[in-house]
Assembly symmetry: D2
Homo-oligomer: 400 residues x 4
């Protein structure tokens, strides 16, 4: 920025850089630049030779990034500037033309939209894999009886398979939420410039087609500061993490000696540094705890945008941290569950059904048999149970 | 609960009741009970006479609730129990039969699904109204120039109308999110019983049709503890509140004497108790602040469900508080904006365009005219601006 | 506000009012006004007669508010305006003088500081009561053995009393946090005016002494927009709620038939509308769930203040909602636990100690007896346990 | 863990490791181990030779870690295991004795308590530095007039110095909060073992003295699962971040051309990739946005602990991520502000005082001069201002 009379302070540069975070966006950035250069040539804004040089240079930059040979410099504010800087080193003057009819503002949000679409799809696939695994486990235990719980009290008998399938339906809703997210990232922001569009006769639809977008964002001011699709992704991941935390929490309880419904293979347990008998359900504990991390990402992302005037502000850069953290956690959690569930065994003889669990059914039978209202049948069965309990007082306990 | 040897402690009852919150669900509860009674009779689980008595009784209960004549009692744990208690007082023994083949667990979630669908639709309509109002204001100021801002620094010239329409596009996305939410509440949970289905030959599809659901929830355990649609609503409201907070924040800045872009009519401002000259943009400040309340509702709701084993738990009752708070805030904020924006005036002579705002355009012209890369044109225009600034030093300021 | 040419729109008034929330502040508002009037007379800013009239009028207003006879009006923006309006109706012109040398900005924050101090003290007392109750229960079960758990796996034997006392230490830390909070509200904001102090020769220290403050806030701009003490209160309540949620979660697990460590008396349980055998640990479930509500209050409060320029903004009014909600939840949760814990019985014969629980102790014995490193002793004991398990294979389970 | 019949699955190990996070704890871990070894020898649990070997080995490990020569291995679950593994490689059998009378559970929490104390002190020092800088700037602009704002409307005249000092008082409260935090981490957890203490005749007070703790945690179960000090730190950082976001938000507004109160030196601004005239207040925008990140850390940390039964659970490991993220953000934000504020210049001629700003003062003068109630003086001044405004109608604006 030669017009500035003083070079940027290194402490400021350090603060301002987002390279630590956004490096991972490079495949989207390269793809976008390829499509942009192609369009600029098609519209005769750059020459075909310039385009070819740019495309060749981008290939080289991509190879360096992929191979780990790319050399980042202190002045690289973000991945976008780093790629362009390196491109210009490689191809010279033509590299400088790549930024024609494009601003970092529309460039960044285009990369993010591509990222969110890609990652929403990837997570949806993992959710499907996990659902499939749970269906397999359900099929393998189709008619195993299980006490169904409400309030963690035995309530009514169900099948283990039925219980496991409840999680499958949650995952299918998670998938629907992820697909909605991908839809929300399906319009191309590029062409919005910094906020007011660009002064060139570009063809945004060509770029959209090249990059797999369904159309273009209509309003340029909205385009550069819209990150709703990121909120939608983090919401979908938060709800999914909530579902998985319920599964995790349940399996921790089922792993206790008292319940004893499941056992983890050694390959999937940790021990204790001082208690040699321990076999801890770490995977399920971490699954349980990570729901808080997912919620944290969502509330951070929304908070970053709260109260900002419209248009691009530097605060928007901060969104990348919770966005990337959120998706990494989700991919890790969903991914680990497939083998972890396979590594789990159910123990049928530990799953016992107390006769009281049939009380609701007995009340219903009374309704049908004697034609009395349900409320009355309920009272009768309840009274019989209380009499039973009174007849067998426990010893060795607090008086109640 | 006659089987219990001790009556419930009043302190416990006080804790346990959710009447303060869920009273507003009564219209859905009555509608649901009407449909349920109709189905029970169609399936010959109750007689047609019993059904008629129940329907008549429900009409009476509804009239009492609507008219404010309904007498709540200390033992009424929630609106569902209160309605049933009163129904039984009115129609006697038949009232007790209404609960056949239904549990409070599936009853509650059915009411909530109906509530969420209804309120998502209502909010979507308000979002449309607000978008329409903004479009009208944009049309009335179609070619008013406005400095477009990034980083709250004047960036490039735009039209006031274009700027306002950015918010319209946000609202249209909010509407899409609300419609997704309504879809997520389109399957009937009723019939899931407490968790394990019901032991009667019911017809869930009949009930679904009566109540406008598209189908029935397939898994009974999932049915009673699924509240994803409530999360989806609170997420949609959080994103919408974030959008409105951006508008609010911007209008607070535009209301300052320094910007002076807008002025509020007296009818929509508050003054100060000691400064007679004040005219405060309260509506926009509250709009700005309420985004935190919306985010709080979402994070509370997700936190309530985090780590709960599957199936119904009493904690689920707590969801109603953030759900109702969230929707009330959203309806109030969206609703108030239509008249508030009408009460606002724009002041064209305060909206000035500094020549520097055309710098990007001038750089683009150089690119086209002289065929140089954009980066070079940018450097030239930047240098000219710096020279300009240096030629007119300001006095009376800190040395920089 | 007669200078305004248009009366406030009723829809705006509705939005702008905070009466629904802040009505409960009246005792602090009256006390503050009494002290302020006393000071104004002592400084000869009003006459002694005027002061007496004001004090008499305030007594009357207080009596009306206490007795429920106070008549709120549509134009009452908040409790402060309502009190002053009514005072002026009662005592006439002297009432108007009460607002001399005071602004609503410093008046509101003074009420809030008094409220926070009072409620922090009240909660600290309840925490002490609860700690005392737990100590009593611990004493009554001093030498009852309990498997100590980590990862919800039996780890090492402890005493039930020792386990319960862990919660006592948490509560003592909660109390320290509440005391810090009260300290943070110990300086009087009154005298800051709207933001720039007041143009009268007041005596802030006199008012501080009257109201039990330790001193006065030094900076007027900070005074009117500081609500840190409210954040501190909500933080203290959030940590306390987290502690109680851990207790709640544990007691829900201990109430399960599988663990069977505790039983709730009928007076403190709820049943099911269709399962007559159920006895649900509702109190503990609600305790568990309410942690999310507490965290929601904190994040909402912080979010309301985030990014606001310094000085008073209307958004600050919104803080009252999460502040009041937070304290109400905390008082209810802490209060209910004293009788709920009394209503709970422990069942010693359900608390069994598996021999494996002594593994760590056995490893330590090997260290002492044979002088080998702990890691080696650990390996030996672990191997013996594995051999044991292999010798008694379970049937009827998944192969692992 | 030789007792396990299967080695841990590498995918599981990957999930379970926390090395990526907790590596930075090594200086505390080494210090703790030195103190622990010293105590073990003093109590004759290990020999003096063994202690010397351990201390020498720890020096070597520390040198490797400091110099970057330490070789982490795939099986290193966390920094604690990595240090012990390497120690044993270096000193052999004696290394295995270091874990005598210690569990990872009490070891981890001891490191964390040391970390929190250290970082709370470091942040408090930075807060002091920043306060000092602001005091210097205030002194340099002692009598510069500034319009004081409420609702971002000019309210009453203040001094720029007075305005800046408001932030100093916020920082002093932040410092008090950080000191409270350090106090909360002042008792040594070591000696609690996994949860039930240790079976050796240790001297916890000796270790406490060596490591600068004021005493020892009394309850072993509480000791291993208490992380309240981490919540307290994250709360202190959240409130501080909220304060800094207010400063950031204000300086962004003051940097706008419309306000023009401050100007940033080139060394501390960024430009735009397409608009050569831009000079963006990035530092202040990032400061503003980071408040959401701080709040996110707090809510994540609390959420991780919510609902966990007492005692150690694997979820606790997840706390490190928000804890470390929170402190890194705070140190960066507080640290950057000292030079950033130095790099900022105030522009007096842009700070103008409209005559209306004296309205409150004029009303007060009327009260004193004419002895009328303030409310009446207020009405008169307000009416005069309205008459003024009516006499000078603006053109070119919307009718209001």
């Amino acid at each position: 920025m030669s017009r500035f009379s003083l070079p940027q302070d290194p402490v400021f540069q350090q603060l301002n850089t987002s390279l630590g975070y956004d490096r991972r966006l490079w495949p989207h950035d390269i793809a976008q630049s390829r499509a942009h250069a192609t369009m600029l040539a098609a519209q005769q804004i750059i020459s075909e030779d310039e385009r070819d040089e740019i495309l060749r240079g981008l290939d080289e930059v991509a190879a360096e990034l992929e191979g780990g040979a790319f050399d980042f410099e202190g002045g690289d504010e973000d991945i976008h500037m780093a790629v362009e800087r390196r491109l210009t080193e490689i191809v010279g003057r033509a590299g400088g033309k790549l930024h024609t009819a494009r601003s970092r503002n529309d460039q960044v949000v285009t990369d993010l939209a591509m990222f969110v679409r890609t990652e929403a799809d990837a997570t949806a696939r993992l959710a499907t894999d996990l659902a499939t695994t749970l269906i397999d486990v359900a099929e393998a235990h189709l008619d195993w009886p299980l006490p169904g719980y409400t309030h963690l009290q035995r309530a009514q008998p169900v099948y283990l398979s039925h219980h496991l399938l409840a999680y499958v339906w949650m995952l299918l809703r998670d998938r629907a939420r992820l697909r909605f997210t991908a839809d929300q990232a399906s319009l191309l922001p590029l062409g919005a410039g910094a906020l007011a569009g660009v002064n060139f006769d570009t063809d945004r639809r060509l770029v959209a087609r090249e990059l797999g977008f369904d159309g273009v964002v209509p309003n340029s001011i909205d385009a550069v500061s819209n990150r709703d699709f990121a909120f939608d992704l983090l919401h979908a991941l938060s709800v999914c993490a909530t579902h998985l935390s319920r599964l995790g929490s349940e399996l921790v309880i089922w792993s206790s000696e008292e319940f004893g419904f499941v056992t983890m293979s050694d390959a999937w347990s940790s021990g204790s540094s001082i208690m040699p008998q321990k076999r801890n359900p770490d995977v399920f504990e971490l699954l349980r705890g990570r729901t808080a991390s997912a919620h944290g990402c969502l509330v951070e992302a929304l908070g970053i945008f709260a109260k900002l005037p419209s248009g691009y502000q530097r605060d928007l850069q901060l969104l990348k941290a919770p966005l990337f953290r959120g998706i990494d956690l989700a991919l890790a959690s969903t991914g680990i569950l497939v083998p972890a569930i396979d590594a789990m065994g159910f123990r049928v003889q530990h799953i016992e059904l107390d006769p009281a669990i049939h009380a609701a059914e007995r009340a219903n039978e009374l309704v049908v048999r004697e034609g009395i209202p349900f409320r009355e049948a309920y009272r009768r069965v309840g009274a019989a149970l209380a009499a039973d309990r009174a007849a067998k007082p426990e010893t060795g306990q607090d008086p109640s």
